[in-house]
């Protein structure tokens, strides 16, 4: 036994608007959509229903009708489990925590095969109403929320500080969105795939200064199932897979801002988590062929790619503008199209990252394929990257 853990299969719903309303004659049901993905993912993995021991679900949004979703799904799939059946919540990190918990199930020997899966339905709730809830998640309800901070207002303040400190510009940051759209055009499950220029991005209405509509994530529904397996199980299928080479987590013990002034845009937690993942993998940033980073806004992609040493400090915007982070460039970032264009069904978003890694490793990414994609990196976060969970994965053919 190698004690290694593999991603062996996956399936995902195209990101977009799926949730209906009570006025529709028929609606998409969350469990019907997810059940089909489970079967597609298991077929992709070359495994049988009876191989599964654990089901680790992302907690559905409160707007999802079916509650106690994990145990409901175990019934819907008639799937007895002797490992663990549970739901996970941790804001934007939710899907990455579900994935890590599934990996832990295998590492601990409690399951040979575990699924990390979930549904995010939220598009039937307006942004103004949704923000009534999300504003209470990204800040202190009594000492931040009364001033009107929104989740992405913190990232906007990162952008303002970044431009001030490094002489970058809104145009350079906006080029990240253009790059991500160019990637998404080749991704059949991406939410936004129409061609888009820098002028298109700059012409949009402002959302949080200096970010406009196309520099922040839209809202969407989505569903994903990722199959995690003991490497021996993966090997026996004869299929290629993604071997987890390193993982790192770090929480800086702060929520949105540190009460003691620090370098907020250094994303110290991403740096610490990345260092742990690099150390475990015995690698450094030069070994990474592509990175699928959790970055709700353009500025966040710039800052986290700097914190993970993928691009030089203060240069992230310029490097995106120069094409270094595009497919075909030195270090392709967010080949799926990222959160701005692939889409951001928040409680399952990071699960889409592992799907993208597997697509790249299995050479099935079409027009966004990274040549010789052998080592990939993923990240997920809490708050303003106050916590980060980073993985390094290796293609095994």
């Amino acid at each position: 036994m190698t004690n290694n853990v593999a991603i062996l299969g996956g399936a995902a719903l195209p990101v977009g608007k799926w949730q209906g309303s009570s006025e529709d004659e028929t609606q998409h049901l969350e469990h019907e959509l997810l059940a089909k993905l489970v079967m597609d993912a298991m077929e992709d993995a070359g495994l049988e229903k009876s191989d599964i021991s654990s089901l680790i679900f992302t907690l559905p949004r409160p707007y999802t009708q079916q509650k106690y979703f994990a145990t409901f799904m175990a019934n819907y799939l008639n799937l007895p489990c002797d490992g663990l059946v549970m739901e996970v919540l941790g804001n934007g990190m939710t899907p990455a925590l579900a994935f890590q918990t599934a990996v832990d199930q295998v590492t601990l020997g409690r399951a040979k095969v575990a699924l990390a899966l979930g549904v995010n339905f939220e598009s039937a709730t307006s942004s103004y109403d949704h923000m009534m809830s999300s504003m209470r998640a990204t800040g202190d309800v009594d000492f931040h929320t009364p001033f009107g901070f929104t989740p992405i207002s913190w990232y906007a303040m990162d952008a303002v500080r970044y431009i001030h400190e490094f002489g970058s510009s809104r145009e350079e940051l906006a080029s990240v969105a253009v790059k991500n759209r160019a990637h998404a055009m080749h991704n059949p499950i991406a939410q936004y795939r129409k061609p888009m220029t820098l002028d298109d991005v700059l012409a949009q209405r402002p959302i949080v200064d200096p970010l406009g509509l196309f520099e922040v994530p839209g809202r969407a529904d989505g569903a994903v199932c990722v199959v995690v397996a003991d490497e021996d199980v993966a090997k026996a299928t004869g299929k290629s897979y993604a071997r987890i080479r390193g993982a790192g987590f770090y929480h800086e013990g702060a929520h949105q801002i540190n009460e003691t002034p620090n370098d907020m845009i250094a994303f110290g937690s991403a740096r610490r988590a990345g260092e742990k993942a690099y150390a475990q993998a015995g690698m450094n940033a030069k070994d990474i062929d592509f990175a699928e980073l959790y970055a709700p806004c353009t500025i966040v992609e710039v800052l986290v790619s700097e914190a993970l040493d993928l691009v030089a400090r203060g240069e992230g915007g310029r490097m995106a503008a120069a094409g270094e982070t595009s497919v075909g460039g030195r270090i392709p970032i967010c080949t799926s199209g990222g959160l701005q264009s692939r889409g951001h069904p928040a409680y399952v978003t990071a699960l889409y990252s592992y799907i993208e890694v597997l697509d790249q490793f299995r050479n099935r990414a079409g027009g966004r394929q990274v040549e010789g994609a052998g080592i990939g990196m993923t990240s997920a976060e809490l708050g303003n990257y106050n916590a980060a969970l980073v993985h390094i994965l290796e293609a095994v053919q």
């Binding site: 009534m132 009107g148 929104t150 303040m157 990162d158 402002p206 009460e259």
Partner: protein
């Protein structure tokens, strides 16, 4: 040391809660006093004010008035906000580093520049107080 008081129209869009402990902070604003807690054991300041010290985990803290002076670390203008803030859009929020080496997040008035000095003011609404930097 008291802070300038700015009269604001109407009520607060999203009033903060008060506890038996934090009521001293919110009521103090009405008298122009901007204060927080200092740990008796390790002497470190903390914000928001707390009955415990997050640094050394002592349970003994004392109130201390802040100067209300600081520098603007960052800011943004919110154009799309939650339903309760719709009437106030667009509005400015920011991050201020107080001279006492405390970082806070608050409303921002006027056109203060990054790294420039700002002063805290009390925002007096019909139903209570908030604070801002200008």
């Amino acid at each position: 040391m008291t802070l300038p008081i700015v009269d604001m129209p109407g009520k607060r869009s999203y009033p903060p809660r008060q506890s038996d402990f934090t009521i001293k902070f919110w009521q103090g604003l009405g008298d122009g006093i901007f204060q927080t807690t200092r740990c008796v054991k390790c002497q470190k300041l903390s914000f928001p004010p707390k009955p415990i010290c997050p640094h050394c985990w002592s349970k003994e803290t004392v109130w201390e008035t802040l100067s209300g002076k600081g520098t603007l670390y960052s800011k943004t203008t919110v154009y799309a906000g939650p339903a309760v803030f719709k009437e106030e859009l667009p509005y400015q929020v920011g991050i201020v580093d107080l001279d006492e080496n405390i970082r806070i997040a608050t409303r921002v008035l006027g056109d203060a520049k990054l790294d420039a000095p700002v002063e805290m003011v009390i925002l007096k609404y019909e139903d209570g107080n908030l604070y801002a930097a200008r």
